[in-house]
């Protein structure tokens, strides 16, 4: 058998064995172990990938090796940064913020009226089932080629998860907690600020976390349907056509890093805001 591939498989097996040992060993609850184990696993997957592409001579126009992707990544930092700003900062982030704020406002509205809630939520669930790939061309037609239409797609994508979670969260207080407020003759706003919003935070963050990955994907895909000549989605689709697969994967790498970092950031804020929640307390 091919020796490069053989070595990479051997590495995978070795790393897995090491992981098993670490995960079940003495320091299994240490932060370092928690970090090293997944990293090692990821690294062994990369090694396997490298082994397959090299060992089996997979053409670079089909699947480039990680090393080639890394080289391209380093050589094109400028382009990647420009695309990142266009797609992530302008498109995804602004859409995410607008969508979250809008969803939040509508949730308060919906929550204030039982009628609206029972009317809007089923319709909302139906709308959430619309595949965004279909909405994207329409929104590009409506909002133009630049980041605004990408932000619009992101707004549509993140709106419903946040709305549904917020509405659910605002109803998450138990009867006793609400009755307590009533015995104080607290006003609507007092109850909202002091009880229902804090209690809703774990739910709201659930929606916000789901939406981070949706936002990035939405912004990238929307660029397929028309864009200026920069942006991660633009680059991916263009470079596929040019068979520059290494560049495509470099963009995907950026997307994965940005997406994970975004997710991690929101999760971090969550841990600050909902420090009191049992799911956060254990650690």
């Amino acid at each position: 058998m091919n020796y490069i591939l053989g070595w990479s498989i051997a590495f995978l097996i070795g790393a897995s064995a090491l992981n098993v040992a670490m995960a079940n060993g003495e320091g299994r609850d240490q932060a370092l172990t928690r970090f090293v184990v997944p990293m090692l696993f990821g690294a062994s997957l990369l090694v396997l990938w490298e082994g397959i592409t090299r060992g089996l001579n997979v053409p670079g126009v089909i699947l480039p090796a990680p090393s080639a992707i890394w080289e391209t990544f380093q050589a094109n930092l400028g382009t990647l940064r420009e695309d990142f700003v266009q797609t992530f900062i302008k498109g995804a982030l602004s859409g995410y913020v607008i969508g979250a704020v809008a969803a939040f406002a509508v949730a308060l509205l919906v929550d204030a009226s039982d009628f609206l809630r029972r009317g809007l939520l089923p319709v909302g669930n139906f709308m959430a089932a619309l595949p965004i790939v279909g909405i994207a061309p329409i929104l590009v037609m409506w909002f133009g080629f630049d980041w605004q239409s990408k932000a619009a797609v992101v707004v549509v994508m993140v709106f419903f998860p946040i709305l549904v979670n917020t509405v659910e969260g605002l109803r998450a207080t138990d009867r006793m907690q609400r009755d307590l407020m009533r015995t104080y003759a607290a006003s609507y706003w007092q109850t909202l600020l002091k009880l229902r919003l804090p209690a809703a935070m774990p739910f709201i963050f659930n929606g916000l976390k789901i939406s981070t990955t949706l936002a990035l994907i939405g912004a990238i895909v929307a660029e397929f349907f028309g864009s200026p000549i920069r942006g991660m989605g633009f680059r991916i689709s263009t470079e596929v056509g040019r068979l520059a697969l290494d560049m495509v994967w470099a963009e995907i790498l950026v997307a994965a890093i940005a997406g994970s970092a975004f997710y991690g950031f929101v999760a971090f804020v969550e841990s600050l805001v909902t420090f009191w929640h049992p799911s956060q307390r254990r650690k």
């Binding site: 995960a23 009628f115 319709v123 790939v133 994907i217 990238i220 997406g259 994970s260 997710y263």
Partner: protein, 331 residues
């Protein structure tokens, strides 16, 4: 006396209660839908006014302002007020920016019900045919995704290494814009001899496995310490613990995550259809509509997709209802 009256009242209530509950659920939805449709019609006017005016101009009408170039930068609302006699034309365009609700409804009917009536339910122009094509990829992908998701969850719950090593990457995997690399996936799979339904199904499986994994990990871990300890006092084995405790108590989570997974699988199938050469399916239909600027057709396909999703999720919901009821978990 009073008791009799009360009993009567109760009985009357029981009969009426069902109806009342149904209408209580339905009325708000109907009102909201009506409001949305009304808003939609209103929105059609400014959205479509420019094209309506351009067409009227071509037909010889005098428009204010007279040239399309000037109108390009004018506000749509302003144009509506200055040319209010052309509002009617915004509801019947062939390629509207925003088709009116009745246009979408008409198109939906033409490509579904009407087709059935004419016995051509499975012709290429029928949305039923395209929905069917999408459905097969969705269901296959959903099945693969669910099995993979459950298997992964079982692994994560039972193995510390899996939990530590795999979970972070499962999250990271979802940040990869699969939609963007779907075409490449199809080519790569083609190159190792996998073609046809499977590539589409694999893309939808990729999107649907994650919610299932996350939900099932939660579900399989939902038994509390006491429930687990009970089995330990019986010296139950791991597999007995799985079959008799973990699996049954994960059922509510299982169904909830399947609903999300199903919706994701449908999106995956549609995305998978777009670059496979746009042969057939709702995704191909969306793309074709987009390619030829047939907005009405796009909207019809969009609604068909949403209806399909609603039906699929509804089916899971029904199975959930029956299963949980038989398991005594629905109250």
């Amino acid at each position: 006396m009073a008791d009799v009256a009360l009993a009567n009242h109760a009985r009357g209530g029981a009969v009426g209660a069902g109806l009342r509950r149904m209408s209580a659920a339905l009325v708000p939805v109907v009102v909201v839908v009506a409001a949305i449709i009304a808003l939609w019609y209103v929105a059609c006017v400014p959205m479509n006014i420019k094209e309506a005016l351009t067409q009227a101009e071509r037909a010889g009408a005098v428009i204010d302002p007279p040239s399309a170039i000037e109108r390009r930068d004018a506000s749509a609302i302003g144009l509506v007020f200055r040319n209010s006699d052309h509002i009617g034309a915004t509801f019947g365009q062939e390629r509207p920016r925003l088709p009116a609700p009745h246009q979408v409804g008409q198109e939906l009917w033409n490509s579904t019900g009407d087709m059935v009536l004419r016995g051509r339910a499975f012709s290429k122009r029928s949305l039923i045919y395209h929905a069917w094509v999408t459905l097969s990829a969705t269901v296959l992908g959903f099945a693969i995704g669910t099995v993979a998701g459950v298997a992964l969850a079982v692994g994560i719950v039972h193995s510390r290494v899996m939990n530590m090593a795999v979970m972070p990457w499962a999250i990271a995997s979802q940040t990869i814009p699969i939609l963007a690399i779907a075409p490449m996936i199809i080519v790569v799979l083609n190159s190792i001899g996998i073609t046809g339904l499977i590539p589409k199904a694999l893309i939808s499986a990729y999107l649907s496995f994650f919610p299932v994994t996350v939900g099932m990990v939660k579900g399989l871990r939902s038994p509390d310490a006491m429930q687990l300890d009970l089995l330990r006092t019986y010296s139950a084995s791991q597999s007995e613990t799985f079959w008799k405790l973990r699996l049954p108590s994960s059922m509510p989570y299982f169904f909830t995550s399947m609903k999300i997974g199903m919706a994701a699988a449908l999106v995956g199938a549609i995305v998978g259809e777009m670059p496979t050469g746009a042969v057939a399916g709702l995704g191909a239909r969306l793309l074709a509509g987009s390619y030829y600027g047939q907005t009405i057709q796009i909207w019809a396909a969009l609604f068909a997709a949403a209806i399909l999703a609603a039906v699929l999720v509804g089916i899971i919901g029904a199975i959930q209802g029956v299963t949980l009821k038989r398991m005594g978990m629905a109250r």
